[in-house]
């Protein structure tokens, strides 16, 4: 079918183009034609390989050979040696800095190894609506293995040894959770999959459910075997209709094939799963609140202990794990605890999926080994900041997390380190902020979210966060005082100590972390009444630059407050006292004569 036997991919990214990759491609093309191989070999200019540091890059397919720092003059050798004689040009191969061994295949390179897909292994590869595709990639093998070859005790030991920790936020060791639920004797026990992904800006759970629903079903059954539960619920947001649809199909197919239901694989083990809908309450991500919601109640958290492992759904021992945690289980069982524990950092094993969003070039889902530095995620994988702007901060962990400054970019990402620098792993949302974002305003945004979503059960969260939000609003409006700043700190610390559930206890994190790392910005708002990023409208003023204004009257005509004066062809002026700071003049001016500061 293929007319070409070989492809030469030349990187045409901005970086490589700057170092003459276009000329290189032209040389290659000309030489290929001269050699009379125009019908066999195709030269292709591709998008960025993301390895700009070593550009220009040439990749040869199907040999999968990777050349770096290729000059236009190297074209001849590549064609005469590699294309004609099939001998890779040794001196152009990539040399790994640490071991000096030459690497020829793309997949062997450390840069590409930054991403390792365990939880997302099947997403974007198999058809999620066809159980046969899942089976063809070893699906349900792990369940078969535990049911026929392992005792529940051995399974729990394996999970403990793997070091897998909860991916939904808390980071509690999964093996210990299973062990606790297994230890408590009861006639009925439950497994719950927490798919109530409420953190705005995180969507890895949705992606797994939409891309690989069977891996979650399989793992829930495995957890059922470990703990002695025979029934599981998936608690999912009603806002995820496609994920629900694919889960429904997956459950029906698994039941039909006998991989869910009575006596699975002919053993004495039976397990079934049903879907329960959330109804839009962020707090239901907290496990006790989630359990109450499944029971049909208001989703308010309760004190722990008792932990769900003792008394959970309808008072029975219950084990709650999140989607991404479950998606890690089958590979651990098939490849072994040692394999999993060899990936990641000392206390945080395996990989974590992050949802990269905000002011970053490559918005997307990335799965990386724990312990990777933030800088690598944002600059190497994420491709850096959009529009060439300057990095300011990255917000991790959603409304429970904090803002990390540039000085902490080299922190290895794991549960402990993130908590240490005032943020948290959370579900893995990662919002990148640049110089145009006002940190006080960002803190206010998260507090607004928390006030909206507070269930109202405990006073520190219900009232405390309101007061924090009011103080932040005053500050962004230019009415803040130094006393407001002191109050924010003190009240924030009190809420952390006294709120009832994990969400309340972490809700002041966005304020406290921004105050810690961006104190200057707070001071600028309170003392100088200025917003350095130019975001807080009340603190901005619009001015007409006399050197640029040509007196076209465009601004004067659009001003809704009629506060711009000036005659045709003469410099105009804005009456600051009457200006409502709507910005209409700035948009109307075609000469860049209006400045905002």
């Amino acid at each position: 079918m293929s007319a070409y036997r070989m492809h030469l991919l030349v990187c045409g990214g901005t970086g490589c183009r700057a170092s003459e990759s276009k000329l290189l491609a032209e040389n290659l093309q000309a030489l290929v034609m001269t050699a009379g191989m125009g019908r066999e070999v195709q030269v292709v200019i591709t998008g960025c390989f993301g390895f700009c540091e070593k550009g220009p890059i040439v990749k040869v397919l199907p040999d999968n050979v990777f050349y770096v720092e290729v000059k236009p003059s190297d074209a001849e050798e590549i064609v005469s040696e590699h294309v004609l004689k099939g001998r890779p040009v040794d001196r152009l191969l990539y040399v790994e800095p640490e071991q000096k061994g030459k690497v020829s295949s793309h997949g062997e390179m450390p840069f590409y190894k930054k991403q390792l897909r365990i939880a997302l292994r099947n997403c974007g590869f198999i058809n999620p609506e066809d159980i046969e595709e899942y089976i063809s990639v070893d699906g349900y093998q792990a369940l078969g293995k535990v049911l026929t070859e392992m005792t529940p005790e051995a399974l729990v030991t394996l999970m403990k040894k793997s070091g897998l920790r909860g991916r939904g936020g808390g980071g509690f060791p999964t093996g210990l959770k299973w062990e606790a639920a297994a230890r408590n004797r009861a006639d009925v026990k439950y497994i719950i999959c927490n798919a109530d992904e409420g953190d705005p800006g995180a969507f890895m759970d949705r992606s797994i459910l939409e891309g690989d629903p069977h891996s979650v079903l399989e793992s829930m059954a495995i957890a059922g075997y470990a703990t002695g539960a025979r029934f599981g619920y998936i608690y999912i947001r009603a806002e995820y209709p496609l994920a629900v649809h694919r889960l429904e199909i997956a459950i029906a197919q698994a039941q039909q094939m006998g991989l869910l239901g009575e006596r699975i694989f002919g053993t004495g083990f039976s397990f079934d799963i049903a879907i329960k809908f959330g109804a839009g309450a962020f707090v239901c991500g907290e496990e006790t609140a989630l359990i109450h919601s499944i029971e049909g109640e208001r989703g308010e958290p309760t004190n722990k202990p008792p932990f769900p492992a003792e008394s959970g759904l309808w008072g029975k021992p219950t084990c709650v794990n999140n989607v991404e945690t479950f998606a890690n289980v089958p590979p651990i069982i098939l490849k072994g605890a040692e394999w999993f524990a060899s990936i990641g950092s000392e206390k945080s094993k395996g990989t974590k999926v992050f949802a990269l969003a905000g002011k970053i070039n490559n918005v997307g889902l990335v799965e990386v080994p724990m312990g990777i530095r933030l800088r690598e995620i944002i600059f190497d994988i994420g491709g850096g900041i959009r529009d060439g702007k300057k990095f300011k901060s990255v917000q991790t962990g959603g409304p429970s997390g904090g803002c990390i400054p540039a000085s902490a970019l080299d922190t290895p990402m794991d549960y402990e380190n993130l908590t240490c620098i005032g943020s948290m792993m959370g579900s893995g949302g990662m919002i990148v902020l640049d110089e145009d974002d006002c940190m006080v305003n960002v803190a206010k945004f998260y507090l607004e979210f928390t006030c909206d979503e507070s269930c109202g059960k405990c006073t520190p969260c219900r009232v405390g966060n309101k007061r924090l939000h009011e103080a932040l609003t005053r500050i962004t409006e230019g009415k803040g005082t130094m006393a407001d700043l002191d109050n924010l700190k003190e009240l924030g610390a009190i809420i952390k100590d006294t709120a009832l559930c994990g969400l309340g206890q972490t809700s002041p994190n966005p304020v406290l972390s921004t105050m810690k790392y961006f104190w200057d910005e707070y001071l600028a708002h309170v003392v100088d009444k200025k917003c350095p990023a130019g975001v807080c409208t009340a603190l901005l003023s619009y001015y007409i630059l006399p050197g640029k204004c040509i007196g076209c009257t465009a601004c004067k005509r659009v001003c809704p407050a009629s506060c711009i004066s000036g005659e045709v062809k003469k410099v105009h002026e804005i009456d600051q006292a009457r200006c409502i700071k709507c910005g209409a003049c700035l948009k109307a001016c075609k000469f860049g004569a209006i400045s905002k500061k």
């Binding site: 705005p200 969507f203 949705r206 329960k276 109804a279 839009g280 109640e297 969003a357 905000g358 917000q395």
Partner: protein, 160 residues
Amino acid sequence: MCKNALTEEKFRELDSYVDTLPEKHGMLISVLHRAQGIFGYLPKEVQLHVARSLNLTAAKVYGVVSFYSYFTEEPRGDHIINVCTGTACFVRGAEGILKELENHLGIKSGQTTPDGRFTIDALRCVGACGLAPVIMVDGKVYGRVKTGEVTGIVKEYAEV
């Protein structure tokens, strides 16, 4: 408006769903989901009906309805415009889009235009962060929206 009418037929449809439940205990939220699907909203009459059929107090039903943001006690417009106000959209200008929309339709987020055509709702993250800022009209997603495009998008639905 006829589409919001609480007809006998709709109540019968709800009843027949409740009858299929093997166990009514703990099913309140599922029943409310179904009821909102049938009636479009959950007014007092529907809440009372659900309370009676599940043998619960009206206070309990109201407590759940008012707790969850997905449930609404007001009828909704013909077209629902959701503005994503998740973090990714927020840092890419969702606030400005929402304001523009509110000004254009003359209502606040959460409200319905007096003619019953449009409802604006802010929504926390539809998970399409790569397309931020995002708005969704009747489930159709518009990505990388600019404030200047808002009026045009609304117009697409004005006559329909």
